[in-house]
């Protein structure tokens, strides 16, 4: 501790800016980690809370996927002896027409029995009818809202609210206001209770319920009740506690969560290199000090401990600041992620407070501290080995010894070879990821040697561009490979991630675009919601007849899709009119014959699955699929695998006739409309809108609008990750600033001599700039090279763990070309401050510097 106070503290004070830049690496890395995970946790927690608050005293929930089931199931459940209370539920979010309020969660309940499970704690009601469920039931426009919602929108009993329903915009009457406790807190207070049969009408549910909430009879346990209901209903129904919905939600978004974890950790890894670089420089600059300490009797252990303590302090301070910054950033990220999830997965959530997890903060702190101490380990060890005699010799310490170079090359070769072996055996996930890590490690081990090589290769080029300045810049890089290579490694790693992700995004967007060309080719789509992933509102099949009668319409294809549980994971079932689709859509087969798979599916003898579904669940042609339906367990063999991007968790295509038969539901989500050749599409579209005016409120979206909506969705999905990568690049660029700052400090006398013999300040500036641009360029070359390898592994990771997507390897050339001027500009900007610092101060001070 005394050494820390006597030696470390004065050094830190002299080089405060550099230490701040060093800390910034850890702060940013920890901040991103904390922010992403806090946002993730807040959304999941909000979902769980909504589920719990709405559930009330519900112990079990009976469901059959998102399709729901017939009303007759309710009586079967109520007839089970172990059941105490069983009430039907419909749940959906609908759009309000209240400015700034967005959507509201509608809970359709049977008020005659629901009070056994939920307490509405009515605060107020109509003057004439107080707390009167009879009027509530008798008037289908009745709503109960929360006190919070009422106050926010200046509503009172008998106020009117407009909601967007299947029949268009309709007015509803507030007939009760719930106090702000329990259920009323769900969905951020944007919750309304409606009679279940009225809800069926406005949401197009027909004679179906979404689920049944159950409480066991007092004489039986919940487990007994669960077993009895399962026995009564069969395997087609899920009978789970309310908390299971939260697990389903999490499993649906697991690949997204994993992607967030990986990309947030990258920022930390890059920060680690900054720390390493700073400590390596510190050890180098303090060699004389260390030599003197050793000469006076300090042990190697004490010297090593000193640097460890410094890294511990730096890591602790950086981590704490990073944790605070992360929590501050989390709010904005949470809102953004909620919006993205609503638009991509159809889950609407209102996150009202951040779920800051002390364990997460502790983990982030630990990771930051461990990263910092780990990064300082090699420099600390190096400091401990300083020979007191050699410590006073200048110059030699910057050079990488031949032995050290050889060792690194051998280790890199070994890592590379093992990585290749792992690649050949990459059917094993463990070996695949081991190979990935080893390949990156090989790149990092080779970075110093390659940096030196490229620096030497750049020397003649720089000399030709600017003879004096270029030579000085190149010499600075060549003579200080340790300093340079650490920064280059950080930049290389960041760029490798950028190229890898950029390539994945480019490949994914290209694949999606091809898929849209082939599969999403109707002239327009008719939907009950502007958000095409919203499946809560459906329309009757008769709508197809109305549209087909419109002049100019060639064909209408109905689609019904929803998630059902398959092996514990919600998967997307898409019921299509297979025969019609096969004539108009040219799908990309991955396995099986297209004609044969269509024929079998159309006749109800099979199902076609997406390639991601097959990959995630490890199934292939001929494998049986069992799907729970209200009519029993539906068993179909897989007759084909196609490329499809309808859902991240994979999709299953069945014929609409099969869906209608097994789910006893004739409604649809979407109608795909084709126009006669030669017809004006816009004119036909308007005729369709006019034809449906008297029926249901449906949106008619042109093909272009749908594509734009999908691309916008994907951009939003990727935007968050792009931002994280930008943070990693920023951290790497900070490394350049750090390196240049040290370089200028080390060369202050040299730069002073330059000015003394007639060098201009502009020449010194140019020298620094060139040095920064060179670092940027070397980082780019190595980063793009490693990035090309990283892209291959990234695509492999996506296939294995992020949705099972099979994407083509497409090197993102345009993206890389864009990165070149971006990185070089960033490197140049990083050099501006240090360059000015180099020319500041008097000549005498510079020459006296030692």
């Amino acid at each position: 501790m005394m050494l820390l106070r006597l030696l470390s503290w004065p050094y830190l004070r002299r080089h405060l800016l550099r230490w701040m830049l060093t800390l910034a690496g850890i702060v940013l890395g920890v901040a991103v980690f904390v922010a992403m995970h806090t946002a993730n946790r807040s959304i999941f927690k909000s979902f769980d809370e909504t589920v719990d608050q709405i559930a009330g005293t519900t112990q079990l929930q009976v469901s059959a996927g998102e399709f729901g089931f017939e009303e007759s199931i309710l009586e079967r459940v109520q007839a089970v002896r172990e059941v105490g209370v069983a009430v039907p539920i419909i749940e959906a979010t609908v759009e309000t027409k209240i400015a700034g309020q967005g959507s509201i969660l509608i809970l359709g309940v049977d008020m005659t029995g629901d009070r056994g499970l939920r307490d509405y704690e009515l605060q107020d009601a109509d003057e004439a009818i107080i707390d009167d469920p009879l009027v509530f039931l008798a008037q289908p426009d009745s709503l109960m809202v929360t006190k919070e919602f009422a106050e926010r929108n200046h509503l009172e009993v008998n106020s009117k609210i407009s909601l967007v329903t299947l029949s268009g915009e309709k007015e509803f009457t507030v007939r009760g206001i719930m106090s702000s406790t329990g259920m009323a807190q769900a969905f951020g207070g944007n919750l309304a209770i409606m009679d279940i049969y009225a809800a069926q009408q406005i949401l197009g549910r027909g004679l179906r319920f979404d689920r049944i909430d159950v409480r066991a009879s007092d004489e039986f346990s919940v487990d007994q009740c669960q077993a009895a209901i399962k026995a009564a209903l069969g395997p087609s129904f899920e009978v789970e506690p309310p908390s299971a919905r939260g697990r389903h939600f999490e499993s649906l978004l697991s690949s997204y969560s994993m992607a967030m974890t990986v990309t947030s950790l990258f920022a930390l890894i890059v920060g680690m290199f900054i720390i390493y670089n700073s400590f390596a420089i510190a050890v180098t600059q303090r060699r004389s000090e260390i030599g003197i300490l050793r000469a006076l009797g300090a042990t190697r252990g004490q010297v090593q401990q000193l640097f460890f303590l410094e890294s511990l302090v730096a890591g602790s301070v950086g981590s704490v600041l990073g944790a605070f910054a992360g929590v501050a950033m989390a709010a904005g990220i949470t809102q953004y992620m909620s919006t993205v999830l609503e638009q991509t997965a159809g889950f609407t959530q209102r996150v009202t407070e951040l779920a800051v997890d002390p364990m997460l903060i502790a983990t982030a702190l630990a990771i930051g501290i461990v990263t910092s101490t780990f990064a300082a380990w090699i420099p600390a060890r190096s400091a401990a080995r300083v020979d007191p005699v050699h410590a006073l010799q200048k110059g030699k310490y910057q050079v990488l010894s031949a032995g050290e170079n050889r060792r690194r090359r051998w280790m890199a070769a070994a890592a590379f070879l093992i990585s290749i072996v792992c690649l050949l055996l990459s059917s094993s996930k463990l070996l695949f990821y081991t190979g990935y890590v080893l390949m990156i490690t090989a790149g990092l081990l080779l970075a110093p040697a390659l940096t030196l090589l490229l620096s030497k290769a750049l020397r003649p080029v720089l000399k030709r561009v600017l003879p004096a300045e270029g030579t000085l810049a190149a010499d600075s890089l060549v003579q200080a490979p340790r300093r340079t290579s650490a920064t280059v490694s950080a930049l290389m790693l960041s760029l490798a991630m950028v190229v890898g992700f950029g390539g994945f995004a480019h490949s994914f967007l290209t694949s999606v675009s091809e898929w849209m060309d082939q599969a999403l080719n109707p002239d327009f789509l008719v939907s009950a919601s502007a958000n095409l992933v919203t499946r809560a509102i459906t329309f009757p099949a008769e709508t197809a007849s109305v549209i087909e009668r419109v002049p100019g319409v060639r064909q209408v294809q109905l689609v019904r899709n929803a998630r059902v549980p398959f092996r514990g994971i919600p998967v997307m079932i898409i019921a299509i009119e297979t025969e019609k689709i096969s004539q108009t859509v040219h799908r990309i087969p991955v396995a099986g014959d297209l004609e044969e798979m269509d024929r079998l599916t159309a006749s109800g003898k099979g199902t076609i699955v997406s390639d991601s579904f097959a990959s995630i669940h490890g199934v292939g042609i001929g494998d049986p699929i069992e799907l729970p339906t209200p009519a029993g367990l539906l068993k179909l063999p897989i007759v084909g695998i196609v490329r499809d991007y309808s859902d991240m968790q994979g999709s299953l295509f069945i014929d609409r006739s099969v869906y209608t038969k097994w789910w006893n539901d004739t409604t649809a989500n979407v109608a795909r409309v084709y126009v006669n050749n030669g017809e004006n599409v816009d004119a036909v579209r308007q005729r369709v809108i006019d034809a449906m005016a008297g029926h249901h409120r449906l949106l008619v979206l042109t093909n272009r609008e749908v594509r734009e909506w999908i691309m916008k969705l994907l951009d939003q999905w990727f935007a968050l990750t792009y931002n994280q990568i930008a943070v990693a690049i920023l951290v790497a660029v900070l490394g350049i600033v750090n390196t240049l700052t040290v370089s200028i400090t080390d060369r202050r006398r040299e730069l002073g001599v330059m000015q003394a013999v007639g060098g201009f300040r502009s020449q010194i500036r140019r020298t620094i700039w060139l040095e920064a641009l060179s670092i940027g360029l070397i980082g780019l070359v190595l980063g793009i090279g490693l990035g090309a390898i990283n892209l291959y592994y990234s695509l492999g990771m996506v296939k294995r763990d992020f949705g099972g997507l099979e994407l083509d390897y497409i090197f993102p050339l345009a993206f890389v070309v864009f990165m070149v001027p971006t990185i070089l500009t960033a490197a140049f900007l990083a050099a501006v401050g240090p360059a000015e610092s180099a020319v500041r101060g008097t000549l005498v001070e510079a020459l006296e510097y030692e």
Partner: protein
């Protein structure tokens, strides 16, 4: 001869002391093949606010196996809402509710019977007819209600019957076997008290034209007044089905 008279008198006396037979006699005297009336329901809450509804009531069949339809006629917000109750001697009744504005009927589930009947102090179970075989009875003595001497009996549901009440106390007038009061208990706590008044003889049947149900937990009252009461009118069984419920509006 004297011993025969004595034995007859003694057996008659003993017969009158059998609680089940008291209840059965009360039911026998109130029995009719059909019944119709117009009712007014006033709900007075703890803050003394009064709400009023009106309905038409019709019943057919013997006690414990009857069917009845209750159709609201006022206020306008609830006009047309109807309830069909089909009683069974051996099990709990079946109940359905019809809502004309959404054109739907719904079954009132068995477990819902304890909930309040449309914001009144009656529960759905209170609307069911109690078959004597579903209960055990015990004679507790005599008390006076509104100046009339009554038998006080304890009624406990048998295991086979699902009820929200653990037991009830029933007061039956000794002179005309009219039900005067019922106190319903849930786990030894008094939860509801029904008081019958305004007795009138209609077609030879003594009937209370006012029932005051007091919910002690909520401290609210519901007063049901019967008007235009008629017994043994010709009614068709088909008029007491779910189809009829949906048809009549």
């Amino acid at each position: 001869m004297n011993s025969v008279v004595l034995m007859f008198a003694l057996s008659s006396f003993l017969l009158q002391q059998d609680p089940r037979q008291i209840v059965e006699e009360a039911q026998r005297r109130a029995a009719s093949q059909s019944q119709r009336y117009e009712g007014t329901l006033q709900v007075i809450n703890a803050q003394k606010k009064i709400t009023e509804k009106r309905w038409q009531y019709a019943r057919i069949g013997s006690h414990g196996a009857s069917k009845s339809i209750l159709r609201f006629t006022a206020p306008a917000e609830v006009k047309g809402v109807a309830l069909l109750v089909v009683n069974h001697p051996e099990r709990a009744s079946d109940q359905w509710m019809w809502t004309p504005n959404i054109n739907r009927d719904r079954r009132i589930a068995l477990q819902d019977r304890s909930s309040r009947f449309f914001a009144t102090d009656f529960s759905f179970e209170d609307l069911e007819e109690r078959d004597t075989n579903q209960f055990d009875y015990k004679l507790l003595g005599e008390e006076t209600i509104d100046g009339a001497v009554c038998w006080k009996l304890q009624s406990t549901p048998k295991q086979s019957k699902v009820s929200q009440y653990s037991q009830s106390y029933v007061w039956i007038r000794k002179d005309n076997y009219v039900l005067m009061q019922i106190e319903n208990y849930s786990k030894s706590e008094l939860v509801r008290r029904a008081r019958y008044s305004d007795l009138r003889n209609v077609q030879g049947i003594w009937t209370a034209h006012q029932v005051d149900m007091h919910d002690l937990k909520r401290d609210s009252h519901t007063i049901l007044k019967t008007d235009k009461l008629q017994y043994n009118l010709p009614m068709k069984d088909e008029a007491f089905t779910l189809q009829a419920l949906r048809r009549q509006q």
